[in-house]
Each structure stands twice: as C-alpha cells, then as structure tokens.
C-alpha cells in the first residue's frame, strides 16, 4: 500500500508519459512492418504520429513549460496527419478501384 502510495504521490512522472508513447509508437511500428493491408498500415502510421505528438507536448510541458513550441508542433502535426490521411485514403480507394485489392504484396504492377 505504501509502495502504491509512494508511487501515486506527487506528479505523474515524465517517464510514464514517455512509456505510453513508447508503447504506442512501437505498436505502430509493429503494425507497419507486419500488416499487408494498406489501411492497416495507415492505422499504424496514425499510431506513430500520435505517439510523436504526445512526446512533443510532454516535453514541452515538463522541460520548457513557459514556451509553446511543442504544443504548436503537435498542432501542426495533427493537421498534417489529417491531410496525409485524406490523400492516403484517396489513393487507397483509387487503387482498390483499379486492382480490387489493398494488399501491398499484390501491388507490384508498376514494378515489373
């Protein structure tokens, strides 16, 4: 109980935030490397971006509390992520229309 008390007393440590984003990021990596479906890859990318966002704001808050760089960076990142998702999904749908598949392994028409 004491341990729990000790742990829970005080601020949330920065490491905890970083740990969360770390797990999120590498979950994203895992998904990016292991999935074949383009949408799933996109999901993984979103995860990674999100993890990065968290890191930005956490560092901003903990290390440079008076400034807003991290905050703005996260803001812009969200905007860009939105753009990227929109374009990516447009491409995916287009691919699906042409090739009726969204599996990366099968999308090698351009290669050969």
């Amino acid at each position: 109980m004491d341990i729990l008390n000790n742990m829970l007393s005080g601020q949330v440590p920065i490491e905890a935030y970083l740990g969360v984003s770390l797990i999120m990021f590498f979950a994203g990596i895992y998904g990016f490397l292991s999935r074949k479906n383009l949408l799933m890859i996109l999901v993984s990318i979103e995860l990674m971006l999100n993890a990065a966002d968290i890191n930005f704001v956490v560092f901003n808050r903990y290390l440079y509390p008076g400034q807003m760089e991290g905050f703005f960076f996260a803001l812009f990142a969200i905007a860009i992520a939105a753009c990227e998702t929109a374009v990516a999904i447009a491409i995916i749908i287009n691919i699906y229309r042409n090739l009726t598949s969204v599996e990366v392994g099968e999308l090698d028409e351009m290669k050969e």
């Binding site: 990596i29 990016f32 490397l33 890859i41 990366v104 392994g105 090698d108 290669k111």
Partner: protein, 633 residues
C-alpha cells in the same frame, strides 16, 4: 648427276596432275601417265646406278655424291633442314629397288584395278608414294628423311584406305597410321636428341667417323643409359614402327586391307624396309656410339622373325601369311644389321642385310603380286577356298613357286644367297643366334610351302566361274620379277654395297649354307607331306599343340592388348575423364563463377524489392544499430 632430280620430281608432277584432274581424266589415260612416268624413272635410276657404280669409285671406295642441296628451313645457327639428293651405294640400290617394284606394280595395277572406282586417284596415290619413298632414300639429312618418312606414312594411309567405303579398310588405314605415328614420335625425339648434341642433321657429317661431332655427347646420360644410346634407341623405335618390329608390328597384317598391288609395293618391298634402311643409313653411328642398341636391334629382329614366322604358320588369309612372312624377313634384315660390325669382313651382316633387302623386295613383291593374281581370279583371300589352282593359273603357279623357293633359301635362287650371308653373320656373332635364325629359316620354308600347296595343290574347290590366268599386264610383272628372283642372287653384291662402301668379295660359307639348305629342304618335305594332298596331319598337330595353335592364330593376342590399351585405357580412362573434367570441373568452375555472381545479384536485387515495409524494417534496424553504437560505445 643432276638428272637424278628428275627421278624425284616426275612422280610428284604425276601426282599433282593426276590428283588435280582426277576424274576428268579417263582411267586408261591416268594409268598410262602413271606407268609411263614410272617407266621413265626406272630407266633413269638404272642409268644412275650404272653411272654411280661405274664412275664414282675412288680407290675401291664409293664416294658420296650430292648432286643437289638446298637449305629449306633454318632452325638455329647449326640446325637447318636441307633438301637434297645423296647418292651412295645404299640409296642407289634403293632407287633401283623402289623404281623397279613400283614400275611393276604400276603395270600390274592397270589390269588388277581395272574398272575400280577411283582408278585415277589410285594412280595419283601410287605416284605420291613413289615420290615420297624415293625422297626418303635419297635424303641427305635425317630431317629430310623424317619429312619423307611422314609422307610415306600418309601415302600408305591413303592407299590402305583406298576402299574407303569398307569399314575394315578405314580402320586398318587408321591403325597403320597411328601405330607408325606413335613410333615416329620416338624417331622425332631421337632426332631432337641426336641433333642437339651433334649440332647437325646431316648424314654426311654424322657418318663421317669424325669423333669431334660426338664430342659433346660424352658424359651425357639419363637414367643410367648414355645419351647416344637414348638417341639411337629412340630413332630405332621409329624404324621399328615402319618396319613392323615387335611389338609395333600390329598394323602390317591389317594393312592387307589395301589393294594387293599396294601391299606388294608398300607393305612388302619398299616402305616396310624403311626402318632397315634407316638403321643402315646411321649404321656407323650405331656401331661406334651405341653398340648396345645395335645388339638390341639384333635381338628385337630375331624375336620378331621367330614370332612372325610362328604366326605365319597358322594364318589362313593368304595375304596375312605373306604379311607375317614380311615381318619375319624384315626381322632377318634387322638381325643382319644388328650382328654386323663395321668395315670389311666385319661388315658382313650389313652387306647381307642390304642384299636381303634387295632380293626380298623382288621376291616378296612377286609373292604378293602372285597372291593378287590368285585373289583376282577367285575373288577370295581365304586359303580354304583355294586349292588345285595350278591348272588354271600356270604362270602364277610357276612364278609363285620360284618366289617360294627363293624365300625358302634354296639355291640358286636369290633368297639363298642373301639369307645365307645373314646366317653366316649370325654364326659369327654367336652360335645361338645363328642356330635360332637357321631354325626360323626352316620355319619360313615350311609356311611358304604350306601356302603354296594350299593355293595351287590340294583339293579343288568349286568356284563361281572358272578361274583364268590373268591378262598380260598382270602376267608380265610376275615374269619379270621371277626373272629377277632367279638371277639376282648372282649379283656380286659385295662389290656394290658394303658397310664402309669399299669393295668386298662374298665368300659362301659352305657349312652354314649346307645346314640351312638341308633344313629348308627338310621343311619343304614336311610341308609337302602335310599339305600337298588332303591330310589329317595338320589337324592332329593343331590339336596336339592346341594352346600354341590357338594363340598363334590369334597372333598371340597382341592386337587384343593394343585394343585394351587404346580403347580401355586411353579412351576410357584417360580421354573420357579428361573431357569430363573439362566439362564438370574446369568449365563448371567458370560457370560457377558466373552463377555465383548471378546468385549474388539476385540476392542483392531482393534488397531493392520496392516493399516500403521492408525498407522501413531495414531502416529501423539500422537506426537502432547506429543509435546503439553511438550510445553504448
């Protein structure tokens, strides 16, 4: 004596003309050209002989005449191949022998080969052969001899393989060429050895007796045998190949696949004695610098003579019998040379050997031509298809008989004189040698009469059509050669050809002569009993010595051994593995290099897969690795 050049050139021209025009000429014209040219050069060489023996004797010694001499190729400062004409007693004698036999064969062939396809080609080849053989004997240096030696081999190849649609003929031609080629390898290496130390190819220098020529050979030895012995031994191998000495004799019986006149010319009278001629040519060198080789030659000759004579006793193909008889007789000549010393009485063997060469050429050619006449009339070579032919072929019968008597060594036929001289020389060398050779002489008489009776006497066979005596063109050479055979023995040979080119009187050694004649007569009587009429004795004897009989009729399995060596060992266990090695090891290494490169590039290509995920993976790993390295080290 510049005109001797014509003797060489005319057959060459004839060859070129006949060869180029080939079937554009009528066969008759081609035959006429060939025979005429031979006639001309025969006359020329008789004249040469006459002039040489009459006018070129200085103080009882015949001089060497070199009417023509040009440098052909220069190898080094000292060594150069020259082409030239050397006239000395043996070459002049050979000129006579070759042109006579060749002329006879040319005439004979007019009838014998009539109607054959490629008649023109045949005459072209005959001219080529005559040219090469003449070139061989008049060679001024050992390399010129080698050149013509090879040309003779090729002409022989072409003539044996004349019936080129017949597989056995093609095989025989190939065999003849390859076996002699193998021997020529020895000859060539021998020449290289000899010329390296003596710094010359020239016969004149080599046989001059000038010791300084051989000075640099002193002390040279290899594997305990002196350099000169090596050189002369190797050269003898070349001679042994051409002259069918054991164990290089195997090609000669097969060479009988060629047309019979060719066998008479090449494989009885001229080319096969080239080896003897070679030894005779270099005799002074052998005698002085390699006496042990000379003795070796004697033993090889004796063994071959015996060996071939035994085989000849059981062969059934008449040409083969004659072929083995030839081998045996050449053995005699080799023995004659081998046992001989140099100069005067010492050189008896040499003189006898040359004498025998001369007489043998005549009567063996006669025998072959006679056999040809028989074959021509019944179209078969086998002894058991013959018998009783004396009624149909009277001229052939008589001439054949004369030749048989000559080879058996019955006086007064020529063979008696020459063989008797060889036997005397042998007895002088060692009694054992003499006894052996006398025994072989007896065997010779036996198998020759076995042959004679087998053909002309005994039971008559049914023939498809009645055999008839040959035309004049065939009969004339028989008679001519028979005349030669009868009278040639009376030529005072010692006045012409001796080891030191000095005059020498032949004395008959009556003891030796008596013994040999007695044995010959006994053998003939034995043969008469056994073969003149149908008799069971031969069968009985054959079954009595069945092992020996079988071995002899298989020619003592020498051919099988050769086939084993060539087919099994060379072909299967040398060539095939080498070819395999080439494809599967050496080439495979090269291909392996190529495929490794290809494999590597395929593997590298996979890195460039276009799969973003893979790139990301590698990128990540790389990042981790680099960051790790930066942080931890």
């Amino acid at each position: 004596m510049q005109y001797t050049l014509l003797i060489i050139l005319l057959p060459l021209i004839s060859f070129i003309v006949l060869g180029f025009l080939d079937s554009n000429l009528k066969p008759k014209v081609a035959g006429a050209i060939g025979a005429t040219v031979l006639g001309i050069i025969t006359v020329l060489s008789y004249y040469t002989a006459f002039e040489y023996f009459t006018y070129h004797q200085i103080a009882g010694v015949y001089e060497k005449v070199i009417p023509l001499h040009v440098e052909w190729v220069r190898f080094t400062e000292f060594l150069h191949i020259d082409l030239g004409i050397l006239l000395d007693p043996i070459s002049v004698m050979m000129l006579v022998v070759i042109t006579t036999v060749s002329f006879m064969v040319n005439i004979y062939s007019l009838a014998y080969m009539e109607g054959e396809k490629g008649f023109q080609r045949y005459y072209a080849f005959l001219s080529l052969f005559t040219f090469s053989m003449l070139g061989l004997v008049i060679a001024t240096n050992i390399f010129q001899m080698y050149i013509f030696w090879e040309l003779v081999g090729v002409s022989s190849y072409l003539l044996i393989g004349f019936y080129y649609t017949k597989p056995s003929a093609v095989a025989a031609a190939k065999k003849a060429f390859i076996v002699t080629r193998f021997a020529d390898l020895g000859f060539l290496v021998g020449i290289l050895f000899l010329s390296f130390y003596t710094k010359t190819f020239d016969f004149g220098v080599l046989t001059s007796g000038d010791a300084s020529v051989f000075a640099s050979t002193a002390g040279v030895s290899f594997m305990g045998i002196s350099g000169m012995s090596w050189a002369m031994g190797l050269i003898f191998i070349g001679g042994a190949g051409k002259s069918a000495m054991f164990p290089l004799h195997i090609w000669l019986p097969d060479a009988m696949e060629g047309p019979t006149p060719v066998s008479a010319l090449i494989h009885a009278a001229t080319m096969v004695v080239a080896g003897v001629f070679l030894v005779a040519r270099l005799f002074p060198v052998y005698e002085v610098y390699a006496p042990e080789v000379l003795h070796g030659i004697a033993y090889v000759g004796a063994f071959t003579a015996l060996f071939a004579a035994v085989i000849a006793c059981v062969q059934t193909d008449i040409k083969r019998v004659l072929a083995f008889s030839t081998i045996s007789q050449i053995g005699f000549m080799m023995v004659g040379l081998g046992v001989s010393g140099y100069g005067g009485h010492e050189g008896l063997g040499y003189m006898a050997s040359m004498f025998h060469l001369f007489t043998h050429a005549m009567f063996k050619a006669l025998l072959f031509l006679g056999a040809g006449s028989v074959i021509h009339s019944i179209h078969n070579n086998e002894l058991n298809h013959m018998g009783g032919l004396r009624k149909y072929l009277p001229i052939t019968n008589i001439t054949f008989l004369i030749a048989c008597l000559a080879i058996a060594g019955i006086p007064p036929f020529s063979g008696f004189f020459s063989k008797d001289e060889i036997l005397s020389a042998c007895y002088k060398f060692s009694p054992y040698m003499g006894a052996t050779m006398t025994f072989i002489a007896g065997l010779t008489a036996f198998y020759m009469f076995r042959l004679y009776y087998g053909i002309f006497w005994g039971k008559e066979h049914k023939h498809a059509h009645t055999p008839h005596e040959s035309k004049f063109a065939m009969a004339f050479p028989l008679v001519f050669l028979a005349a030669f055979t009868v009278f040639a023995g009376w030529i005072p040979f010692g006045h012409f050809v001796t080891s030191d080119r000095a005059n020498y009187d032949i004395h008959l050694d009556y003891t030796v002569a008596g013994i040999s004649v007695a044995i010959a007569v006994l053998s003939i009587i034995l043969a008469t009993i056994m073969y003149r009429k149908e008799s069971v004795v031969p069968q009985k004897l054959a079954s009595c010595f069945s092992g020996l009989f079988k071995a002899a009729s298989h020619r003592f399995y020498i051919d099988e051994i050769y086939i084993f060596i060539t087919k099994r060992i060379i072909f299967k266990h040398v060539s095939t593995p080498i070819a395999w090695l080439d494809r599967h090891v050496i080439d495979a290494t090269m291909n392996g290099l190529a495929s490794t490169t290809q494999w590597t590039s395929v593997k590298i290509k996979d890195f460039q897969s276009g799969q973003v995920q893979q790139y990301a993976y590698v990128f990540l790993l790389g990042t981790l690795l680099i960051a790790g390295l930066v942080l931890f080290f």
